[in-house]
């Protein structure tokens, strides 16, 4: 067990470090997809089958592709000319190191380092389904609402600014363009001001 844990841990840490330090954005996105897959295998090792497979389905199958699409839509495919780290990189690294040191101290001094091993608990899909429908039904419904709101919100935010008046058949009067998202919520005013 410890050998497989060491391999998975090394994979996750190497992939995460590569994701944060590579210059090429698409390489960085692919490295973080590897990190997600490594984490999914860690979940499978811990016996949480449903969560591990959901992690692959959602993160590797959807979030990684989303990140890649965003990279390509914002011209991230070309190599950056200056350094990829911002000017104040030292303080960021210092903060991250101190956070890790604090957490490591806390873990070492806690009961976690001395506890005995309990046997493997079981989390069958049936138990998860039962709990989702009885104990956790309110969070389930709220998550449905949240995902709907996120879907509609993401579409509205990323929609291109355009109005029917900018089409050529009207004679080309593009002066009083109203912006796309706000024209859904408020009808265009006659003054034609911005925002």
């Amino acid at each position: 067990m410890t050998l497989s844990f060491a391999i998975i841990a090394a994979l996750i840490i190497a992939a995460a470090t590569a994701a944060m330090t590579l210059r090429n954005l698409v390489h960085s996105a692919l490295a973080v997809a590897i990190a997600f897959a490594g984490l999914a295998s860690a979940y499978l090792q811990l016996g949480a089958q449903f969560v591990g497979l959901t992690q692959i389905l959602v993160y590797v199958g959807a979030v990684a592709i989303l990140i890649v699409f965003a990279v390509l839509l914002t011209r991230g495919g070309e190599a950056p000319e200056k350094s990829v780290f911002s000017a104040s990189w030292f303080w960021g690294a210092a903060i991250a190191t101190s956070v890790f040191a604090l957490l490591a101290c806390a873990i070492n001094h806690s009961f976690a380092s001395k506890r005995a091993l309990p046997p493997q608990p079981s989390a069958t899909v049936e138990q998860i389904g039962q709990d989702l429908m009885t104990k956790f039904v309110l969070p389930l419904e709220v998550i449905g609402l949240l995902l709907t709101a996120a879907l509609i919100g993401a579409v509205i935010i990323a929609m291109r600014d355009e109005s029917p008046k900018s089409k050529i058949e009207d004679g080309g009067s593009k002066m009083d363009k109203t912006s796309g998202p706000s024209s859904i919520l408020h009808p265009p005013s006659s003054s034609g001001g911005h925002q």
């Binding site: 897959a37 692959i56 389905l57 699409f69 049936e126 058949e169």
Partner: protein, 394 residues
């Protein structure tokens, strides 16, 4: 007369029994895993070779020509010739390409295509991994192949290949939703995600008809939706715009040659077999025989018979229907299939909650037919043809 049905299972147990005295426990486990995996690695690529020649000859006959008929009797040794050609062709890597990603993309695609076979029940007691969440495993690993398709298109730094890859990824991601939701109806009725148990739930008989889910209204609609989504997931005609052979020649794998191209081809057909295998497991009763009298044919033979029938159906569709444009494809997914699949869930729930009898056929079937009439026809007929408007790129 040995039990043909369990012949492979008994063979494996006999082999393990022979080796028990010789090897230690962990080596024995390794040999057991290898004995389960190696048949998959042999059988399905052989099926792939048979399928390529069947497809080319079938398409040829549909298009009123012979297929390949030079190599071997009636052209049936063509896969061997194709294999030799793929192996000895020069492996071109464009100078500006990203070498690591260029190499990894076909490898990851083939690995994910093979991994999903681990949960498919091919015969009675013949499943490599009886996972508690087997169906979720199938869809998770299938979703991971989308990233490999993108990697393939991006690695060769060719803007047309990238365009093809983006179209392919958009198509695969859009059609994943009807694929997964149409199988959720089956999960709802059987109450389990484990594939061998779903097959066992379809082994009873209702009169003389088997209890397969395809013979129920929601199951029939679900099966049709699943098959359309499977067609789109595997980038096959009429959804093969990303690899449109008459337009962008090979789309996202245009710059791959030799063995890597063969790997792409292999991965595409293997994932098609896997999705068809899943469709058979969920809707067509898996390895069950249709009538009790035909039980003497072994269960794995029934699985492969059904698989080959579905393959012929796919080849027929490819030869007959014209290709869909990208926006028509996306419209079909988001505006027709997703509402239909959600209504299918409601129809399955109606079926379950009205008790057994004639009423449930009526309510379920009526709901699905009405939904299809409302969603299907008005969407896709042309309304008035108005004045032409121009939209320039800005």
């Amino acid at each position: 007369m040995p039990d043909l049905d369990q012949i492979f299972v008994n063979l494996k147990h006999w082999l393990l029994g022979q080796l028990e005295g010789i090897l230690s426990a962990s080596w024995l486990e390794l040999v057991s895993i290898l004995l389960s995996l190696v048949p998959i690695l042999i059988v399905f690529p052989t099926l792939f070779a048979i399928m390529t020649i069947m497809e080319r000859k079938g398409l040829g006959r549909i298009q009123n020509r012979y297929g390949p008929n030079r190599v071997g009797p009636f052209g049936f040794l063509q896969p061997a010739a194709d294999g030799i050609k793929a192996l000895i062709k020069e492996d071109l890597v464009p100078r500006a390409a990203d070498k690591v990603v260029h190499l990894l993309a076909p490898v990851i695609l083939v690995v994910t295509a093979f991994t999903v076979y681990a949960v498919l029940p091919i015969g009675r007691n013949m499943v490599v991994l009886d996972l508690d969440a087997g169906l979720l495993f199938f869809f998770a690993v299938g979703a991971a192949s989308d990233l490999a398709v993108f990697m393939a298109g991006w690695a060769i730094r060719n803007k047309y290949a990238l365009l093809g890859a983006m179209r392919a990824v958009a198509q695969m991601v859009s059609y994943e939703i009807p694929l997964i939701l149409s199988s959720v109806a089956v999960v709802m009725i059987t109450g389990t995600l484990s594939l061998p148990e779903i097959v066992m739930a379809q082994s009873t008989h209702f009169g003389f008809l088997p209890d397969w889910f395809v013979f129920t209204p929601w199951g029939f609609a679900g099966f049709l939706l699943f098959m359309i989504a499977a067609n789109a997931e595997a980038n096959r005609s009429p959804f093969d715009l990303p690899e449109g052979e008459s337009e962008i020649i090979a789309g996202y794998f245009i710059e791959y040659s030799g063995f890597k191209f063969a790997l792409f081809f292999l991965a595409e057909y293997l994932s098609l077999f896997a999705i068809c295998g899943l469709g058979i497991t969920l809707f067509l009763g898996g390895w069950n025989a249709p009538f009790a009298g035909l039980e003497f044919i072994p269960s794995w033979a029934w699985f492969f018979l059904k698989l080959i029938t579905l393959m012929c159906l796919f080849i027929w569709t490819r030869g007959t229907l014209p290709r869909l444009r990208q926006d028509q494809l996306m419209n079909l997914a988001w505006k027709f299939m997703i509402p239909m699949v959600l209504i299918n869930l409601v129809a399955a729930a109606l079926w379950h909650f009205t008790g057994p009898g004639f009423m449930r056929w009526l309510t379920s079937g009526a709901l699905l037919i009405v939904a299809h009439l409302f969603l299907g026809n008005p969407q896709f007929e042309r309304k008035d043809i108005g004045k032409r408007t121009y939209r320039f790129a800005e």
